[in-house]
Amino acid sequence: MGGGEPSERLDAWVLETAPRAVAYARSLLRHPQDAEDVVQDCYCRLLARADSYDLPRDGQKLLLKAITNACINLRTRRKPFSRLIRNDEHGQEQVIDPNDPQVISPEQQAMHGELSMAVAEALQQLPPLQRAAVELKSLGHTQQEIAEILQVTPSNAGVLVHRARHALAVSLAGFLAPEVEE
């Protein structure tokens, strides 16, 4: 798109897309502050190129792609320094990633009900790409779009969604109707 984008149109686009973008980043990172920083940075980078794109029309996919990359990069950068080992109730060693806190803060507990907590915990058990894939699918993106956002092949995107859905169905069996329990 050529020419200067009227500022109000871009502001409206940010206001419209920010809630979902931040929610998506929060789920990938589980650190609200980091998630907001990532989203802010992605908006800045896209808005700096507003002359090249029609952001209000096509920007959401670009935004989600940028957020996915930034979140995965951030997690990857932190991992070597932040992994911990602990034993579960059966004495088995578990790797704890502080980027995915197992212990939900009281603030988060107050914010979310039992179901939300269960979904949050089930999502955080998934590998990041599976988590992103099933979230994008739940938001109505097609397999082709998910593939573009995650930069994988469409068949890979399908596999990621399928595996994530299966794992969530097992974790959330208590909240699902009997016919979908696995």
Binding site: E8, L15, A18, P19, C44, A48, E135, S138, R165, L168
Partner: protein, 329 residues
């Protein structure tokens, strides 16, 4: 909550759970705050570097541009008129101006329509107060009939304080305030994100001045209904902004209740100055040996009378925030 993007497929029960979870999380996001952060970050970033092609040719391009400008100026007798700033751009500039550490004093008048209070069986309230603001801090002096004026405000940690005499004061933690009083504090402090940011997000904005030099900027904001979201407290807002300094000179906010106008809250700038820092804290309004009753003091050993008084003052502040109206349904 209305969110953009692909239509939700989510026929699958697992996806429906994930979708609901994301929607609940999205509902807690302050989009206006994100917009302000993004715009502020953009302003603090250096201008993008020119491309190599541009760098190679910039001298000759600059020469050509200058020649073209001179030719246009010669033929037309002047350069193109600068585009006037839009209402949204002006509100963003006012946000930035009011974020600085200068002190502005406003006379605040709450005018309520007499008929509006028939159903609530409460007397109409007309109050005049003087409000000092500095960024996110404010303090206000309100005249009470037959009593000394009450001074109250919000410090930089978000705590609200109040005192009716220099020997005793009360402090309330942010979580004690309740939503209406918190919103009222946002309004009085002319807090950028929540008040002017809400105008940017939820109102249609119109410039009503002619843009002539020296004429105050006048912006009208009309609430834009959004499906699934309750209407804000103020349906119509008129702002007057100084064209040079971008300081808000006056604001008029129309309050509606059950769809009917019930009154107006009017702000008028009366003074710009530099106050001592402690004026925005309780200590600046008390004697050195005054008694301060905060939440901890109320819990531990304070007299029943002091605890009750502290609660009554908080109720009064909350009533002030609702301006005598029952809570919005």
């Amino acid at each position: 909550m209305s969110l953009p993007g692909p239509s939700p497929a989510a026929d699958d029960p697992v996806e429906r759970l994930v979708r609901d979870y994301l929607d609940r999380s999205a509902a807690t996001v302050d989009a206006a705050a994100m917009l302000v952060r993004v715009r502020a970050a953009q302003m603090s970033q250096p201008a993008p570097k020119p491309s190599r092609w541009w760098q190679r040719h910039r001298v000759s391009l600059a020469f050509l541009a200058t020649a073209a400008a001179l030719l246009i100026a010669f033929v037309l007798g002047g350069g193109p008129e600068p585009q006037p700033l839009t209402a949204a751009q002006l509100i963003r500039e006012a946000q930035q101006t009011h974020a600085t550490a200068s002190d502005h004093c406003y006379e605040v008048v709450a005018e309520w329509n007499p008929g509006a209070f028939n159903r609530t069986k409460l007397p109409p309230v007309t109050r005049t107060s003087r409000l000092w603001t500095r960024g996110d801090q404010f303090w206000i002096s309100t005249a009470l009939p037959g009593r000394p004026p009450l001074a109250w405000g919000q410090d930089r940690d978000g705590r609200v304080w109040a005192t009716a005499n220099p020997s005793r004061g009360f402090i309330y933690e942010p979580e004690e305030l309740g939503a209406p009083l918190s919103r009222y504090c946002d309004l009085l402090s002319l807090r950028l994100v929540t008040t002017l940011g809400e105008l940017l997000q939820r109102y249609d904005l119109y410039r009503r001045d002619s843009g002539q030099p020296g004429e105050p900027i006048r912006i009208e904001a009309t609430f834009r209904p959004m499906p699934g979201r309750p209407p804000p407290r103020y349906s119509h807002v008129v702002l007057e902004i100084d064209p040079e300094t971008k300081i808000i000179q006056s604001a008029e906010l129309e309050r509606r209740f059950h769809g009917h106008p019930v009154g107006k809250l009017k702000f008028r700038l009366v003074e710009t100055s530099q106050l001592p820092d402690d004026q925005y804290t309780l200590a600046g309004h008390l004697n050195p040996d005054a008694i301060v009753i905060d939440r901890e003091a109320a819990r531990q050993g304070s007299t029943d009378f002091r605890i009750r008084t502290r609660e009554e003052v908080l109720k009064w502040l909350q009533f002030q925030a609702g301006a005598g109206l029952p809570p919005r349904k």
